[in-house]
Amino acid sequence: MSDIKKIKDDYIDKLNTENNVDKVNNIKSELFGKNGIISNEFKKLGSISVEERKKLASDLNNVKDELQNKISIKIQEIETQEINLKLEKEKIDVTLPERDIEIGKIHPVSQVIDEISSIFSEIGFSVEEGPDVENEYNNFTALNTPDNHPARDMHDTFYLDNNKELLLRTHTSPVQVRTMLKGKPPFKIIAPGRTYRSDSDQTHAPMFHQVEGLHIDKNINMGHLKGCLNYFIKEFFEVDKIKMRFRPSHFPFTEPSAEVDIGYEIKNGKIVIGEGDKWLEILGCGMVHPNVLKNVKVNPSKYQGYAFGIGIDRLGMLKYGINDLRAFFETDYRWLTHFGFDPLDVPSNYRGLSR
């Protein structure tokens, strides 16, 4: 027994000081190989008495288990040590820059159009479009603005021919005409798009964006108009309450007509929409003029409804604190990066319109 114990103690000591996996494996075969020390001890069992054998076998097995256990722990230990040592050498500076991120952006006008479309989609409007080049009839005459009407002076029009037959649309209202001419009532559409007027200064651009709205059915009255716009403005500016004022105005294609002002105030140099005692004009609207309905073959004694036109760029400027309209169209890399929106930021009702 003492022999065995001595072997065990010797090898435990050996293993304790050993730090090399190969050497531990050598020890392992020294002990348990074909002619290993422990293997040989087992071989001896055959030549001793049954009683002694029983005890010795049990002792031998214990020693064997203990040593094998020690060996495997040792191997694990060394391996862990080696990995740790390797990992330490492999450390990289993770603060070095990543590969370039390519950041694209959506233009504020596009984002605002999507916001507007999302809001009106919630209350059943669908989106219509019309061409940028219009004929004189759709842009003016059909909209109850005949040639000699002074209201035409308010539209500085770009013409494409000397007879003034072809022009760049001065508003999105001709989409009303096209929509009604090609379909049958009821109509419930919005029409965002590019519009053009030949003036250009700090607050006017020769091209800008409008969204037209049109809802024609049998019993649509000014109360619906007010409700629809009140809903829209609240949703757009993402406020619970909105101070809104309908003010009588005049557009040849609507009657009665109104301009809509919203209340605002300046707080810490920033404009706050929905409160305050200052008014800001943001859109024009009214009940579609019976002459317009007649022009598009809709019977005004059966159908009536409202139309509105909103300046998209201006809404965007108000909501996102952009001061200069001209900058919208100047493709300045810095401006686009600053005011642009992440392409994944798709305006939607369930996620909230803006982030």
Binding site: G104, S126, P131, L168, E255, L336
Partner: protein
Amino acid sequence: MKFTVDWLKNHLDTKFNNNQIIDKLTNIGLEVESFENSTSESDSFIVAKIINAKTHPNADRLKLCDVDIGSDKTIEVVCGAPNAKNGLLTVYAPPGSIIPKNQMKLSVSKIRGVTSYGMLCSESELLLSNESDGIIELKNNKYANKIGEKYFKNTSEKVIDLSITPNRPDCLGVRGIARDLSAAGAGKLKINKKSNLKHRGNQNIKVTIKKEKAQGCTIFGSCLIKGVTNKESPKWLKDKILSLGQKPISAIVDITNYVMFDLNRPLHAYDADKIDNEIIVRSSSKGESFEALDNKKYILENDMCVISDRSGVLGLGGIIGGTRSGTEYSTKNILLESAYFLPRSIRKTSKQLNIDTDAKFRFERGIDPLSIEEGLIKASELIKQICGGEISNLDVKKIENYKKTSINFDPFLFEKTTGFNVENKELIKILEKLGFNVSKNKKILKLAIPSWRPDITQPIDIVEEIVRIKGYEHINTLEPIKTRLKPTLNYYQKLFHFLQRSVASKGYLETVTWSFTDSKINQLFKENDEEIQIVNPISSDLNVLRNSIFPNLLFYLKKNLDRGFKDISLFEIGPAFKGKNPGDQLTVIGAVRAGKVSRLSWNDKERIVDTFDVKKDVIQSLCEAGINKDDIIIDDRTPSYYHPGKSGGVYQNKNEKNAIAYFGEIHPNIIKKLDIKTEGLVIFEICLDYIKESKQKIKDSKSEYKFSDFQKSERDFAFIINKNFKSQELVNIIKSVDKKLIKSVRVFDVFEGENIPEGKKSIAVNVTIQSEEKTLNENDLDNINKLIISSVESKSGAKIRS
């Protein structure tokens, strides 16, 4: 339209204060643009303090004063007053102000070599007293806190400026505004005093309105005022004219202007002695000319309405008078005109000649045809009162009689349109106050329209009158009706949104540029499209509609490169115009990418952007938008602005005329012409209109979900093939060998040169083979391999590399 509150009160008895009046005006549709003191010459004089007065370096009797005028910095003023001393409070006049005493306008000037910014004033200079020995000394206790404030209180009346919509000519006169206010409960419209003007003698200058087809005048009223003394207007009249923002000229002219703004009744005064015998109202002949009161000579076209005498044109009726018959201080006898001109004629003439006057503005919107006499009487009375003289009987010539019109109005239309109800009684009261004559026939109201309201022609106009006077605040705010008639977006609108955002997500900044561009740049991109010129462009470098998005995109790319940015990706989605008719336009995405990939990267090799960068962007975007990659074909037919050898088109069908997209390098000549300086420039475009609308939604067009768990094998092949042979075709040949077994073919190497014969290239492909029924054995695979090699060799002329 400008006027003062006290002028309004000449016509309106009201207890409303100024703010209430302002609010009411806005609420009834007469939008108040501003409500401010009219500017006065005395505004510029400011309370100031001399901080330091030292002797002028070049003149012992002058002083050089540092003056605090309430702004951040003190101002240096040279002053000759003996009493100028440190700490003195006085009155400062900045450059630009007019000194009341001598009416001199101050400017920044050098006095003995030192610049003086403005002046310190004496009492005599400000006409306060005769004291001229020194500058004003203000009392410390009263003025010490007022440095920088105006010295004179602005006593001028506050002026209301209204923006009058084109349908309301009646409100281009103060009386019309008062009438609207009275209807809205803001007071009572004053009744015009009956005139007790005595007329003496007849208007003996013969007036004829010629009956011509194009005659623009239907009524010409006039009277003769003899023996007047024209002079400067009295103060009250001058103030009125000044409050309009106009300059007083002489009593006669000021009176005609005053009546125009008071009653919206334009008048014209002729020096009667300068009229050659008679007045003839007729249409002009081409080439006639006259010198107008704006000191410009106008050459007329045919059929413009002119007032003439035997010697020729005196003036353009209702637009502008001529200098030949103009009144002066020396004028003794006046012919006063009050006429009716047709809006259409006025508008046409003034547009042709490009003249805008207050009279034109009013006549083109429609003047009350029944106000001829009222205007003549009111103006004559004032002239007699101010300038003296005798007034003849009125002479009114007409070629057409005014017909009173009326409308039958069913009050139910009001509620139907506005959604709320107004009692008949109230409704009638509003209309009557607006000047309508109301009679009832059962439920229907018969309304005689006032002669000053040419805008009212049908029942809906009456609805508007009632609701605006009643107040828009009475309209209910109804919950939005949520009924939907059709889906929000159609296929192409959805495509628009998907593509827009998927291109942006590849690192491109979206921009929005004008739909017009410079024809010189446009012609590089217009291919066979017609050039669409704008007749009246905003500037000569924005003179055509863009045939392509690239002219603008490259113009702005260059600007950004010039700003020092090097790696730029931009895109725009919008119209490209193909013809000048409505609808001749396509919705296109244009995108540009310039510079390098991995510039100054610490771990990757930087390289110039190339065709395969944009090819990836365009194909990936199309796939994300729902187009199946297997359904597109790449071809090298591209527009001429692309590099002929390094660009491609994406087609949905082999022989399709129009590609749905193009990509590649831009033609080097264009880069040179546009002088764009960048290491690399690649572009792509997608034409949304050419993408075919899929008949099914993606969810319905997906094939059955199937997969194979049998072992797959990969085999590599290298072929020597003609240099011009397209890899896409090679891949297709291999795929078509066995569409079931060949799962994918990937080109992993292409090269020419060493060991490759001239005119040939080597293409290496990796082919994945997998059966859905069994694990393929070596024999099966060998067969496929042989088939692949033999197919490729026979169909493409390639040779397998050994």
